[in-house]
């Protein structure tokens, strides 16, 4: 026995609370909450008493609550969607008679409800009340934006599916089929021939048959732990033991719930009454306590608290655990735990913005680049490997990130001698030179007198790229030269001031 609960004037959260008050086995599907009420007869009585109890549980007597109670889940939802008030059907034979007069559009409504339920299931459930003062929507927003493998569960897929529903309804109306009973009376095989899989599905729904089980909703468990310290601690070494004590039980709970950590929040309550908050976004779900502790410690090493710590709180934002399918034909990719730990250690050693994966930016400025997080992609297929063998060897440019000032003697418009103050660079007479190649750019912000345009030009790039492109505009000539020692340099001269620089070495 199943019950379905919906209302146009009551929020979905209120419906979910009402369902939670009656049974732990319920499934929210868009505006409808489907309940498995099979075991509630001992508590409340027969089907009608269960229905009355559900109406009471919603609490607002004036609310236009629609409740359907039927032997099948499909029947209960169709009754709730298609009939006002409380409708109770005790037997399967009675169900067909009750469903028959409903408009055929209710079948489309049922499919829409299921689509919304699929999107809801793909999106994370509402966060449990945890009392934490951090915005939980950062990670969750990213998860909802992430493309889903099943197109049916995506909003775009939903739009396409809704359009298909309307087309199917239109077809039925042209046939003169306006009620569920009329559709149920049609032969299933011929309906399937004309409408495809949807025709077969709708025929089953019209007869009140279930085509999928109820998937009970499980509230997301809060993974948090805190420890009050008897004595304030300073330094990371004692803190590592505290973090280990907090994280190990949490990792066990994550494993039992088949969840991984997506974001690790560490709150250190200081003796100065301040709270040192750190949020660590993990590149992949992980639940290894040792890895989590190492990452948290490395993060705190880079951002240490300002005072001694007297309370440590840890909160983990869970996400479905990662499933990995190994293959015999491709090189195994490094585990995300290894990559994260390595990047954290390297960042602690080299500093922020010095570790990552380079990216080219859509800019003409020489040396412009962006630095993205290092996330090794899965290996490419065979043809790419084959193409690599025929690739010609290409000269490398060793670029001086801070160009080296140079003194260049120019004769007949061409550089003839190079001198620098820095040791280790070959200088002397220039034996060959090619150029000049003139480039300029990023002069428009000054020209327009608007700093806003500068920020617009740099928008859409990473901070590193912005740092490299948001510099002042450039207007220069470039030369490729070879000095007497055989070293090939790329020189540039700033046209506004006439200053020469060594941009790099061709090697």
């Amino acid at each position: 026995m199943f019950a379905a609960l919906t209302s146009l004037s009551v929020s979905r959260a209120a419906l979910v609370r009402a369902a939670e008050g009656c049974t732990p086995r319920f499934q929210p599907m868009g505006p409808v909450v489907l309940l498995d009420v099979a075991g509630l007869s001992r508590l409340f009585g027969g089907p009608r008493a269960i229905g009355d109890e559900l109406v009471r549980a919603v609490g607002d007597a004036r609310a236009a609550v629609r409740v359907g109670v039927a032997p099948t889940a499909t029947g209960a939802v169709l009754l709730a969607l298609g009939r006002p008030g409380l409708t109770v059907v005790a037997t399967a034979g009675e169900l067909a008679a009750r469903l028959a007069p409903l408009p055929v559009r209710v079948l489309a409504d049922l499919e829409r409800v299921r689509l919304e339920g699929a999107v809801d299931a793909a999106a994370p459930p509402a966060a449990p009340a945890s009392g934490w003062g951090h915005p939980r929507d950062t990670h969750q927003a990213q998860r909802t934006r992430r493309p889903r493998p099943a197109c049916r569960a995506t909003p775009d897929g939903s739009r396409a599916a809704r359009a298909a529903l309307e087309a199917c309804l239109h077809t039925l109306h042209t046939w003169g089929i306006t009620t569920v009973g009329a559709l149920a009376a049609l032969p299933a095989a011929e309906l399937s021939e004309r409408l495809g899989a949807r025709g077969r599905t709708w025929h089953r729904l019209a007869r009140g048959e279930d085509d999928r089980p109820l998937v009970a909703w499980v509230a997301e468990e809060a993974f948090e732990a805190a420890l009050d310290l008897e004595w304030p601690i300073e330094g990371l070494e004692p803190l590592s033991f505290v973090l280990a004590r907090l994280l190990e039980p949490l990792a066990d709970r994550l494993e039992r719930a088949d969840r991984g950590a997506a974001v690790l929040h560490t709150h250190l309550h200081l003796v100065s009454r301040d709270v040192h908050r750190r949020a660590l976004q993990l590149p992949a779900p992980m639940r290894d306590a040792k890895t989590l502790r190492t990452l948290a410690l490395l993060d705190l090493e880079s951002h240490p608290p300002a005072a001694a710590v007297d309370r440590v709180s840890v909160l983990i934002e869970p996400t479905p655990a990662r499933m990995l399918q190994w293959t015999l034909f491709e090189r195994a990719q490094p585990a995300p735990e290894q990559v994260s730990t390595l990047l954290a250690r390297l960042t602690a050693l080299m500093g922020e913005g010095h570790v990552g994966s380079p990216r080219l930016v859509d800019a003409w400025q020489p040396g412009a680049f962006a630095l993205a997080a290092f996330e090794p992609a899965p290996p490419a297929t065979g043809p790419a490997d084959a193409a690599a063998d025929g690739r010609p060897l290409t000269c490398a440019l060793r670029r001086f990130r801070l160009p080296v000032p140079a003194r260049v003697t120019v004769a007949d418009g061409r550089p003839v001698r190079l001198q620098v103050d820095r040791r280790g660079l070959a200088t002397g007479a220039i034996v060959q030179a090619a150029g000049p190649w003139r480039t300029s750019g990023h002069w428009w912000p000054a020209f327009a007198g608007s700093a806003a345009q500068a920020s617009t030009a740099a928008a859409g790039t990473s901070p590193a790229a912005q740092a490299s492109t948001a510099a002042a505009g450039w207007d220069r000539d470039e030369w490729d030269v070879v000095v007497a020692g055989g070293v090939a340099y790329r020189l540039s001269v700033e046209r506004a001031v006439g200053q020469w620089f060594i941009e790099g070495i061709v090697d």
């Binding site: 990559v339 050693l349 994966s357 690739r391 060897l393 070879v482």
Partner: protein, 268 residues
């Protein structure tokens, strides 16, 4: 001889054959190679740079040493491997790397300290007439020290199977100050794994027993140097670099010169 062969067989059974002193067979070397996707060079290297070994590419500026290193990273990343570049002085140009064929998404770039005379923190060692200060205080030595620590972390993690440590711009005095035990530790980390590590240095510094030294710009038989295209002043452009590489690896019975042509990509 029979006793020696039996002993060697016992060591191989216990996977201790790396301790054997002798020449590696061509077959075993081929299995452990990390190719550069340059057929002429790979053929001489018996399949590529040896995995689990420390190799080096040594040469002066503009002799093609960096081009060879980028070619190796390109081949590794295109095979689907993850590569790492420990860039001691932040000299890597991503556009140049992409032109060389490096798949940047698979490259872990560890950027060191960009050192220039125009920087706020001027290293006295780089100023003319000033003696290099001994001890760990100089900017150069700190940068080298950090790069070595980064190399240690990358090799320990085992995430990347092609690792380049760029020490090409480190002054010779700074290179000599690196203790020899450093390279022994690096070799120890590499042993038994499938990662290969290459040092990019101005002069030969270190390689493991099974590693390869590629010396660029030292061959008398092959003409190396910069190539130009166009005869007229206004039509001339830098066409590329002719690389004369000498391979040295006594244990792998590698020795000989290889000539390669590197072209300048218009995008750099």
């Amino acid at each position: 001889m029979a006793t020696k062969a039996a002993l060697e067989a016992l060591l191989r059974d216990r996977k201790l054959d790396r301790t054997l002193i002798g020449h590696l067979s061509a077959a075993s070397a081929d299995e452990a190679g990390s190719p550069l996707a340059l057929p002429a060079l790979d053929a001489r290297l018996l399949g590529g740079l040896p995995r689990g070994q420390l190799s080096e590419i040594a040469g002066a500026a503009s002799t093609g040493r960096t081009s060879l290193a980028w070619a190796w990273l390109s081949a590794a990343t295109r095979r689907g491997e993850s590569a790492a570049l420990i860039d001691t002085f932040d000299r890597f140009d991503p556009a140049s790397g992409a032109a060389a064929g490096i798949e940047l998404t698979r490259l872990l770039w560890v950027r060191g300290q960009a050192i220039s005379k125009t920087g706020a923190a001027v290293d006295p060692a780089w100023l003319p007439g000033v003696r290099m200060v001994s001890g760990p205080g100089t900017l150069v030595e700190r940068a080298v020290d950090r790069a070595l620590k980064a190399l240690n972390l990358v090799l320990q993690a085992g995430v990347c199977t092609a690792v380049v440590l760029d020490l090409a711009d480190v002054p010779l005095a700074g290179l000599r100050r690196i203790p020899a035990s450093t390279w022994l530790r690096v070799q120890r980390l590499l042993e038994g794994g499938d990662a290969a590590c290459v040092l990019l240095v101005p002069l030969p510094v270190a390689r493991s027993a099974g590693g390869v030294t590629m010396l660029t710009g030292v061959s008398d038989a092959l003409a190396g140097g910069v190539r130009w295209a166009g005869s007229h002043d206004r039509a001339r452009r830098l066409a590329g670099v002719s690389i004369a590489a000498r391979l040295v690896s006594p244990r792998r019975t590698l020795c000989g010169d290889v000539g390669l042509e590197a072209r300048v990509d218009p995008s750099i």
